[in-house]
């Protein structure tokens, strides 16, 4: 049975947007800690994050699959070959990228800004929120980069999701499958639609970060 294209498209968007949302929460939090706090082992953690940004998605997929495999340490969760398992893999793919960009964004703010906020009477939480607002454009860019990385990856989607029709097939795995079957026309259509989806979501984010679009409210 051939699954309607819109269902594959919706599943792709759901998996990658959910993964991006979770990865943004983790990545912005971690990037803030690494960018602002004087943590012991900060240099080591930064190196780990930078390495994570360069890890091939297929390697992430392999590691997640080994963990989620029915006989693996997290096998009881029953996440292998599920959408939730794919989300876990994409969270791991997007998080280092978002963490790294967040860290850089906060470090690029004027160095005396945290102290200035402190001297203006902001408590720790108020300072962090204000710094996020000041760095909102690069933080949005971080989320966009994370989403782009997640929706375009095929390695972990194939290994962790299994490309099961009607259950875990997403746009990228569908393209690979159709190319494998010699259905280049279908693969091209999927590719163009995937590009369109990425464009629409990025265009929405860009419209939010237009210069001056939000200064009055922030």
């Amino acid at each position: 049975m051939v699954e309607p294209l819109y269902e594959v498209l919706a599943r792709s968007a759901y998996v990658s947007l959910t993964a991006t949302l979770i990865a943004s929460v983790i990545g912005i939090g971690l990037g803030t800690a690494l960018g602002l706090a004087r943590l012991p082992g900060r240099a080591f953690l930064t190196a780990v994050v930078n390495t994570g940004m360069a890890v091939p998605t297929v390697v992430v997929g392999l590691a997640v699959a080994l963990l989620l495999w029915r006989s693996g340490p997290l096998g009881d969760l029953g996440l292998i070959y599920t959408v939730r398992g794919m989300i876990v893999a994409q969270v791991l793919i997007a998080t280092p990228l978002i963490t790294g960009i967040t860290m850089s964004a906060l470090q690029l703010l004027p160095p005396d800004l945290p102290d200035q906020l402190r001297s203006l009477g902001a408590n720790r939480a108020q300072r962090v929120v204000r710094l996020w607002i000041e760095a909102r454009l690069p933080l949005l860019a971080a989320a966009m980069a994370g989403f782009g990385h997640a929706i375009s990856e095929v390695g972990s989607a194939t290994i962790v999701g299994g490309n099961i029709h009607g259950q875990t097939q997403v746009m990228t795995t569908a393209i690979v499958e159709n190319v494998g079957r010699g259905e280049f026309g279908v693969a091209i259509v999927y590719g163009v639609i995937l590009l369109g989806l990425a464009f629409v979501i990025n265009a929405l984010l860009v419209s939010v970060q237009r210069p001056g679009a939000s200064w009055a409210q922030s």
Partner: protein, 345 residues
């Protein structure tokens, strides 16, 4: 109501070097204290310690007897610190001024009123709805100051508040600052490396050099009785020349009479403001010098003189007809000249 500030036995180290060492300094309630010193003297460090942004490595900094290291956010909220860069946030001018009020849980309607009143005091209320990033340097300085004043702080700390402004804007800025502070009992500590700004509004001035307090006194005392040549240079004495005091108190420069006397003896430094260097008649005691440069300035001419020492004089733009190459004798107006011990310079 202003607060009393106190530093006791304070030592602060940065990069392995002691950048500030203050044995004792008290700023009274409502006092305006200026801290004058060259770049790197520890002025900003002093303000950061008073603001509670940093804690000293040794000693205690207190606001009304409460240590800034232990006072927490509640103590910091009594202190407003306007940093050297205006550091406005990327939002509207109004929101910039309102944010510290919001952090102090001031009700929203009152926030708007207080913010607008503060902006009005600094003559920038018309900019309230503009993005802060669209302001000129002078406007940003005023908004930064309005933001500091809006919270009605017990202590106002100003770090080179007019840095980066042109002369005209500086003058207007300080006039507005003076007016904004006129009916307040706020304790103010202002740091500057410019004597004219430091002395302008101060009740007392601290001279800070290499992290150490060199002299404390009223602007008049510092002007008239600088402790040493370094202080004299900071206060604005343009001429600092080696001299010698004979046993009878006569001050000689390069063996020539100066017309000055002193209670000191032996090698000294004569500090003279440029407008205290006067042309004297040929038969009066004075230094023989040659005019090497005449530079027009606002309302005066700056005249460079070379003899046994180099001097800078200021002559009225009308009434003096000195030209390069003229040989003249100069003396010193005692009220604009002081004789300082050489060893401490």
């Amino acid at each position: 109501m202003g607060a009393e500030l106190s530093l006791t036995g304070v030592r602060h180290v940065r990069g392995g070097r002691e950048v500030l060492g203050v044995d004792s300094l008290v700023v009274g309630r409502g006092e305006h204290l200026s801290v004058l010193g060259p770049n790197g003297a520890g002025k900003t460090t002093l303000l950061r310690l008073l603001a509670g942004v940093e804690s000293p490595h040794a000693g205690d900094v207190t606001v009304d007897g409460v240590s800034t290291a232990r006072g927490g956010v509640e103590l910091r909220r009594r202190v407003a610190y306007a940093t050297q860069r205006p550091g406005l946030l990327s939002t509207s001018v109004r929101r910039n001024v309102e944010l510290p009020l919001r952090w102090r849980k001031v009700p929203r309607p009152l926030r708007g009123e207080l913010a607008l009143a503060a902006l009005e005091r600094l003559s920038v209320a018309h900019l309230a709805d503009r993005p802060a990033s669209a302001l000129s340097g002078g406007e940003q300085q005023r908004v930064s100051l309005a933001r500091a004043l809006a919270i009605d702080p017990a202590v106002l700390l100003l770090d080179e508040p007019a840095e980066g402004l042109d002369a005209q804007s500086r003058s207007a800025f300080f006039a507005d600052l003076e007016q904004a502070l006129a009916d307040r009992a706020t304790t103010v500590v202002q740091v500057s490396h410019r004597a004219d700004e430091a002395l302008r509004l101060a009740d007392r001035v601290v001279i800070l050099v290499d992290g150490r307090v060199r002299q404390v006194g009223s602007p008049d005392v510092l002007n008239r009785f600088p402790a040493d040549a370094r202080v004299a240079a900071l206060v604005g004495y343009e001429n600092l020349v080696d001299a010698y005091v004979e046993l009878d108190g006569t001050v000689l420069i390069g063996g020539s009479q100066t017309g000055l006397t002193s209670d000191l003896s032996g090698p000294v430094v004569v500090a003279a403001f440029a407008n205290g260097v006067r042309i004297v008649p040929a038969d009066a005691p004075g230094l023989p010098v040659r005019v090497t440069r005449v530079t027009p300035g606002p309302g005066h001419r700056a005249v460079a003189l070379e003899g046994s020492v180099s001097l800078l004089a200021q002559m009225p733009i009308y009434g003096s007809s000195l030209s390069v190459g003229d040989d003249v004798r100069v003396g010193f107006a005692p009220a604009l000249t002081t004789v300082l011990p050489k060893a401490s310079g």
